[in-house]
């Protein structure tokens, strides 16, 4: 007897048909509030668009950045979104490889989140370019200038890493969707049927198809795992490759990866809780899943906390006065506020997750995860801005405060992310029907006492 992998009471166990119906219900049911949310997102995106247009017209000067602090909110938000992007593939791939079944009901959402997060992150390198209309200089293609990009530059690594990560995540996500699209094809009629039919690529679930499907899914999981690690390592090298005190550190890669997973999990929780409530998926996404995610959150929080400590240890241990001054100033200087917000949200708050009661209270989890997201944004702010503001040449020390343009665009990026997510939630199954059914099937097998 295999042990139950989904702790749904046996009698209340949904049938495979229930699964089809419940999970695809939101797609057919209309929600008034949904359109309102979508409208709000659209409006914010438009505002950000205007801000960006003005920036392109007038120049980067409309942002608050200045000479020592050449990177500001844009890059901070970029790193933030790349971080968010990491939970998705982690949950789908790594947990798939280690066969932890609780991923089943959340991996679809997590992967979607990944894709939209990368789409959001990808905008910022463009937005922060002084001459975005020449961004194609970064692209290696045979040009009449006979010039090629500089592959020694971390920014080019970045472009390749993010590009690959987006493509692979998309393939991974889409592959998982195909059987579900077939389900929808068979549920609906008319235009919907034709659309889903087209995207399901004629899937009809013969056992042979499934074997190809499972094989590729395994491989993708296999390659996606190192990819996840590589992507945020590369992002961290954007900084670690620099000589800026506070950036030039060997712990950055693991430090950033942990932070990315940390923020990613937090974002999954932040999104899943309202989604579950809104679409009535309590049967499928249960406290059991949240409990596991909370544990993961706690673990990564400990790693991140360790990294914070280690940064200071290394600064002290290096006996380099410049490095030491940089870190002293980070905690006590003009930016002490952001620094302590970061410590509180990322290290102190998650400690409450040691207690099962917190882990099982969705309200608490929601609050904590939101705090963690805020904290992680500030972490990037602290790393990027404080280091630049207090560098080698004291005469060049200078502080930075974000401008309205930057903040508008940052808010817009959130709207942009949720806009896509809302579209997804309304048009595609937010839970992998096939995988859920796979489990239910086994349950029923054993239930029927075969």
């Amino acid at each position: 007897m295999a042990t139950a992998e989904i702790d749904v009471p046996r009698e209340g166990l949904p049938t495979l048909a229930d699964a089809n119906r419940d999970i695809s219900r939101p797609i057919s049911t209309p929600y008034g509030r949904y359109w309102i949310l979508l409208g709000i997102c659209g409006a914010l995106i438009a505002a950000a668009g205007v801000a960006w247009t003005i920036q392109i017209r007038d120049g980067m000067g409309v942002a608050g950045i200045n000479n020592p602090v050449n990177w500001g909110v844009y890059i901070v938000t970029f790193v933030f979104w790349v971080g968010i992007a990491h939970s998705g593939t982690l949950i789908s791939a790594v947990l798939y490889l280690v066969r932890s079944g609780w991923r089943t009901t959340i991996n679809r959402t997590a992967e979607a989140m990944t894709i939209f997060a990368v789409m959001t992150a990808g905008l910022f390198p463009l937005i922060h370019l002084g001459r975005v209309w020449y961004f194609y200089y970064l692209v290696p293609y045979p040009s009449t200038r006979l010039l090629w990009p500089n592959f020694r530059s971390p920014l080019v690594w970045d472009m390749f890493a993010i590009g690959t990560y987006f493509t692979i995540s998309l393939v991974f996500w889409y592959l998982g969707l195909i059987p579900d699209l077939a389900v929808l094809r068979d549920r609906f009629t008319g235009i919907k049927k034709r659309l889903y039919g087209a995207f399901s690529l004629g899937w009809q679930g013969t056992v042979r198809d499934w074997s190809h499907y499972r094989r590729l899914y395994l491989y993708l999981a296999g390659i996606a795992t190192p990819l996840v690690l590589s992507v945020h390592s590369v992002v961290s090298w954007d900084f670690a490759m620099g000589i800026v005190p506070g950036w030039h550190s060997t712990i950055f890669a693991p430090y950033f990866v942990a932070g990315a997973i940390f923020s990613g999990i937090a974002m999954v929780i932040t999104i899943t809780i309202p989604l579950r409530w809104a679409f009535g998926l309590e049967k499928y996404v249960t406290t059991y899943h949240f409990d596991n995610m909370a544990k993961l959150l706690l673990l990564t929080s400990l790693i991140v906390g360790y990294a914070y400590g280690m940064e200071y240890f290394l600064a002290w241990f290096s006996a380099d006065p410049i490095e030491q001054e940089s870190f002293r100033w980070r905690a006590t200087g003009f930016y002490a506020g952001p620094f302590w917000i970061m410590v509180f949200c990322n290290v102190v708050v998650p400690m409450s997750l040691w207690f099962k009661r917190t882990r099982n209270s969705l309200k608490a989890l929601f609050v904590i995860s939101v705090l963690v997201n805020i904290g992680m944004w500030y972490e990037r702010f602290v790393i990027i801005v404080t280091s630049l503001a207090h560098e080698y040449d004291p005469s060049a020390w200078q502080v930075y405060t974000p401008s309205l343009t930057e903040l508008t665009i940052m808010v817009g990026s959130f709207a942009w992310f949720f806009f896509w997510f809302l579209l997804f939630a309304k048009t595609l199954p937010t839970i992998s029907i096939a995988e859920v059914k796979e489990h239910l099937a086994h349950e029923h097998e054993h239930g029927n006492g075969h």
Partner: protein
């Protein structure tokens, strides 16, 4: 074409039917499943999917493309930065890694498309229930006694619905 399409409700029953059919010498089976079912693959004796080979070729291609791209472009217009060599392989390796992964995934997906692709319309034996909770087994069988035997077999293994197409 003539044959019999049976629908099952459970994995176990389907598996049983398949095993019995193959024992009877019916190896020409189209089996539909609403869920990924390794058991049925076993029963049908399906060997490992060739998609893996696609992925491998993709990976190699990606790696070599990256080597060529980084190396040759660096030589195309040699510019020194920070006294680093024109061919800074350690830096270029990151590009190679990413390209390897990228091409692996893309080729693998092409593989799946290639192997699962079929002419536009779904097979005549496909039933929408197969995407809900039914398992389907289609047996090619000539009309006559043969058909009757198979039908009996299928019913005995718990087929909830049997269609005979002549």
């Amino acid at each position: 074409m003539s044959g019999i399409l049976a629908q099952f409700e459970t994995l176990g029953a389907t598996r049983q039917a398949i095993e019995r059919l193959r024992a009877e010498g019916h190896s020409e089976l189209d089996v539909f499943s609403p869920i990924p079912a390794p058991e049925l693959e076993e029963a049908l004796g399906i060997v490992a999917s060739p998609v893996g080979r696609w992925a491998l070729i993709g990976g190699a291609t990606g790696f070599l493309t990256a080597v060529a791209l980084t190396g040759l472009t660096a030589l195309a217009y040699p510019l020194v930065t920070q006294g680093k060599p024109i061919l800074s392989w350690p830096a270029y390796f990151i590009i190679m890694f990413e390209m390897t992964i990228l091409f692996t995934g893309l080729f693998g997906f092409l593989g799946v498309l290639h192997h699962t692709r079929r002419p536009g319309r779904l097979s005549a034996h496909y039933r929408p229930t197969f995407s809900v909770d039914r398992f389907g087994v289609f047996v090619r069988a000539a009309a006559g006694s043969d058909q009757r035997d198979v039908e009996a077999l299928l019913r005995s293994t718990g087929a909830v619905e049997v269609e005979v197409s002549a």
